[in-house]
């Protein structure tokens, strides 16, 4: 608690939304995937995490909402260390963190509207979810989001399995925002999409992040997209952070340190 409050009160610094303190993850004992990562995230826009495959980007992001349990270290979010919370306390934390996935992860046989409304599952009582009796303001908000992700109201009753990849990812983003999150995590949100759609999805994420002032942390392996839409870039390699700064500070030397070698550039 103390550490977080001090961080928030630091003069001149933007309020910290998420602080990772010496976060470590070992899937097998003695073989850390994340090697004591310490990072602060403030409320400003998109942060891109870049790095080669298998370097722990996905593990890092999944530790934040505890889809993966960290081995040690702490995760400060909304004034508490959430690295060890369980049960209903964990669910209360998760509903404040939206997540966007590479494979969209929509429930295929449900309609677009129902998929967006699943973003409220952490809030609504079970019987309402079961009877599909969502609150009026939730439904109104879902329609609003449908517009703002560029789909429009006539998509509401379409089944998710009838949508294209780009459309599905828009629904995925709407579902995440539907949670009224304090933070959005996006795990390779553009990796299954064509180049043009990838740009549109990154633009949408950056746009929503700015308009709704929700910080977004994106795992992405497309360096150009990361530089174009992120305000801050974190470069990871071998479970360590090797670059943390503005996109224009990222040099070819940094990139060869992150990805190894130079021939590919």
């Amino acid at each position: 608690m103390m550490a977080m409050d001090e961080a928030v009160r630091q003069p001149g610094a933007a309020p910290v939304v998420l602080r990772l303190d010496r976060l470590r993850k070992e899937y097998r004992p003695g073989l850390p995937v994340l090697k004591d990562i310490t990072l602060d995230f403030d409320k400003s826009g998109v942060t891109a995490i870049i790095g080669p495959s298998g370097t722990g980007k996905s593990t890092l992001i999944r530790c934040v909402n505890r889809l993966v349990d960290p081995t040690s270290g702490s995760i400060w979010f909304e004034g508490a260390d959430i690295a060890q919370v369980r049960g209903s306390a964990l669910r209360a934390v998760r509903r404040r963190i939206g997540m966007v996935f590479q494979e969209y992860n929509l429930v295929e046989r449900l309609t677009v509207m129902e998929n967006i409304l699943t973003g409220r599952l952490g809030y609504v009582p079970l019987w309402r979810a079961y009877l599909r009796r969502f609150a009026e303001q939730d439904i109104a908000r879902a329609f609003e989001l449908l517009e703002s992700v560029g789909l429009g109201a006539d998509f509401a009753n379409r089944r998710a399995d009838k949508l294209s990849g780009g459309q599905r990812q828009r629904v995925g983003i709407a579902r995440a925002i539907m949670q009224s999150p304090a933070l959005v995590l996006a795990d390779e949100p553009t990796s299954s999409l064509d180049p043009k759609t990838s740009v549109e999805i990154m633009e949408l994420l950056a746009d929503i992040s700015a308009k709704q002032s929700i910080p977004v942390i994106v795992n992405i392996h497309n360096v150009e997209l990361a530089k174009r839409y992120a305000r801050r870039i974190v470069g990871m390699t071998g479970g360590n952070v090797v670059y943390d700064g503005k996109p224009d500070g990222l040099t070819a030397q940094h990139l060869s340190e992150i990805y190894g070698g130079e021939e590919w550039q």
Binding site: L67, G98, E108
Partner: protein, 266 residues
Amino acid sequence: MTTRGDPKIWLRFTPAERIGRSMVYIIAAIAVVWSARTIEIIPEFLYDAPQQTADLFQRMWPFDIKYWPFVWKTLVETFHIATLGTILAIMMALPLAFLAARNFTSNAMLRWTAQFIFVSSRSVNSLIWALLFVAIFGPGAVAGVLSIAVRSIGFVGKLFGEALEEAQAGPIEALTATGASKPAILIKGYWPQTEPAFWSIALLRWDINIRESAVLGLVGAGGIGVALDAALNNLYWDQVGLILATILAVVVITEIVTSSIRSRII
């Protein structure tokens, strides 16, 4: 496969393989002769079998239409036994299926218990279950319903449990990330993915149960089998014929109905 000296000579099998194959034929021939001797076929019975069959059909026809009201009554009871039994089985099998599914239940002991119940339910024929329940509850439809239900738990539970295990992990992970509780994930994540499989399994089992409950009456557990049993004991072949024709018609009709519903669901 071997090739010898001249590469044009090709033999599919090696000598050892050829000996092995001949042995299989010889053993099969011995087995046939041996079993024919053991079962002591009485040739006279075999010779007049066609006549006996023709005679039986002659006695069945024309059907004894006066028996129809009783046949109808027991037929309705058969439907009730099959339907109620299936519904009961589903109610008991669904929770067990969730316990048995690897991706839903992490506790190995619970999974093992559910699997054990499925195996014990499936390993006993419904006619045997009926004998048991007739002994406990006395003859009648109650014993029939219970034997159908208990026999079906394993079938429905095993198949639905497997359908659950085939549910995609991605949407489940996404719902977990929204902070949804386990029951909410069940309703909005697992159920939509497994719903077609569920209806398909339930219909298939109902179809099977119609056929199975038709014979339960032979051991006194209610249904059209009671009428069949009575007719057989009295050697009223014209009544037996009527019942057999009715069962055939019912099986064909349920087959048509269930397969048309199934094709619409999937």
